[in-house]
Symmetry: C2
Subunit: 298 residues, 2 copies
């Protein structure tokens, strides 16, 4: 325990609620509400916020106001705002709108990559080099994300070798970090430990982030297991938004406030003010709730 405590005094959080959360809320969230929530997040001490996605509105209409959100949010010094991009067009829009960081997603599963992006994993990775080059020329930081890193709803299990191949492609393209995403909440703590022990030793120069969904209520156990294995960057979502657009009340991403609570109890710093974060979570739930009292939903 002493060893863990000495080597793990702080972690970093990437707040993804405004992207992964908002895109899964069925009702339209007014742009002003999105801006308000993002401002509360940065005010609570979050230093990395995935604020939106530059994806064609045909695919994700919930985030069609991406440019306006980026224009209107308060940008305190030291806070990095990023956006997800599905392709080079997304990068162009991110650059136009002055973003300093983008996230490019590739799925470790062929089937999921085709479902999401209508191309193979290797076609996506082929696009990566020109995206990386353009991002560099424009001074935009690029992060990589590997969807279905712990399993795929179509293909079932995904091999460790496959995840490492994609991670290496990202590293070779010069990304600043790679996120392992448990897109549909299939990971379990021993699997997390195993994948990270291989990845952190084989790609020790590449910062690894973890993105767990809480679909089956073990998301935070996976966070803990990843932290034990040496991970220091975690993605989470305010109020646990996200991940399950068709089941109101069902768990989405790991909730940022639960993650912060756990690490603070363990003496691990996050830089976040938990009281302000809990307040932000309550306001977020009020603003984005799918549930209307007249429906009497449980």
């Amino acid at each position: 325990m002493v060893r863990e405590e000495l080597s793990s005094k702080s972690i970093s959080i990437v707040e993804v609620g405004p992207r992964d959360g908002f895109q899964n809320v069925r009702k339209e969230i007014p742009t002003g509400d999105k801006v308000k929530i993002i401002d509360l997040l940065s005010a609570a001490g979050l230093r990395s916020i995935e604020a939106t996605s530059f994806t064609h509105p045909k695919w994700i209409p919930q985030l069609k106001d991406a440019a306006e959100v980026i224009r209107r949010i308060t940008k305190p010094p030291g806070v990095v705002f990023s956006a997800l991009i599905p392709n080079e067009k997304g990068l162009d829009r991110a650059i136009e709108n002055g973003l300093e960081e983008v996230v490019f997603v590739v799925s470790a599963s062929e089937a999921l990559n085709r479902e999401n992006f209508n191309k193979s994993t290797w076609e996506s990775l082929a696009e990566l080099s020109s995206i990386a080059e353009k991002a560099r020329r424009n001074g935009v930081q690029l992060r990589g994300a590997i969807a279905a890193s712990f399993g795929c709803p179509f293909e079932g299990s995904v091999s460790v070798e496959r995840v490492i191949e994609v991670a290496e492609a990202f590293r070779n393209a010069g990304v600043s970090a790679v996120t392992l995403a448990d897109t549909t909440g299939m990971a379990h703590p021993l699997q997390v430990k195993e994948l990270l022990s291989v990845l952190l030793s084989q790609l020790s120069d590449l910062p690894i982030a973890l993105h767990f969904h809480d679909t089956r209520r073990i998301g935070l156990v996976n966070v803990y297991s990843a932290w034990q294995a040496g991970a220091k960057i975690f993605e989470s979502s305010i109020a646990g938004l996200g991940g399950c657009p068709y089941a109101p009340g069902a768990p989405g991403n790991v909730a940022t406030e639960s993650l912060v609570y756990m690490f603070h109890k363990m003496g691990v710093e996050t830089g976040v003010n938990l009281d302000r974060l809990v307040e932000c979570s309550q306001i977020t739930q009020e603003l984005v709730s799918d549930r209307r009292p007249d429906q009497g939903q449980g």
Copy 2:
């Protein structure tokens, strides 16, 4: 990982929903519904069920039908039904009703013991010897439970030494196991690891069970941490009932179905049929829900 997997191929679960859950549900649950839920729990493969509490109905009116519940439930061979007892009178009623196991609770915190039982921790432990003697004479198995093992809402932190003192008193009285209860959900995984590493080495002959509340959503992380430290017995509650009588929808105990899901994913056996357990959870939620559609509660 190989070491853990080899040494931890199975765990035992004590289902406490019918006691810790039902006593925290505000509306009166008809006895027939309680019996139905308990029968579904044993049919799903649970082999140890804390079915009720023989406490004065003035204190816990929700469980005033304890004797009738015990009389009416199906008792499949191999399933042990237990009841919580706050004192010798409770033991007498348990014996009258033919129970084979009882649980006697003492709080590691003076303040909580006085609040719950109107006596000091040592007065409770003094009662223990006559309870243990009577239980033995009547062929009733006795388990001990230590409330506030990880902190007290009145006193704050509770020392490891204090928990060990109470656990030793239980062991000397000849209990079959001791449960460390995180009564108000204050535990965190590093604390769990520390307490267990001391306890399992100093009292290596005493089976230790863990009872975590999910008040702050990290209950299952504590379960995982305890399992890593060598614990093999876990208490949990169907549908996560319990722990928070005044906040409908707020988390109670660790949910049995989440715990079983996690261990099965990890390759650890529980003897429980997860599909039947999930079905039981859904029926339980319907039968005991505090929420009524006409109130439009979220």
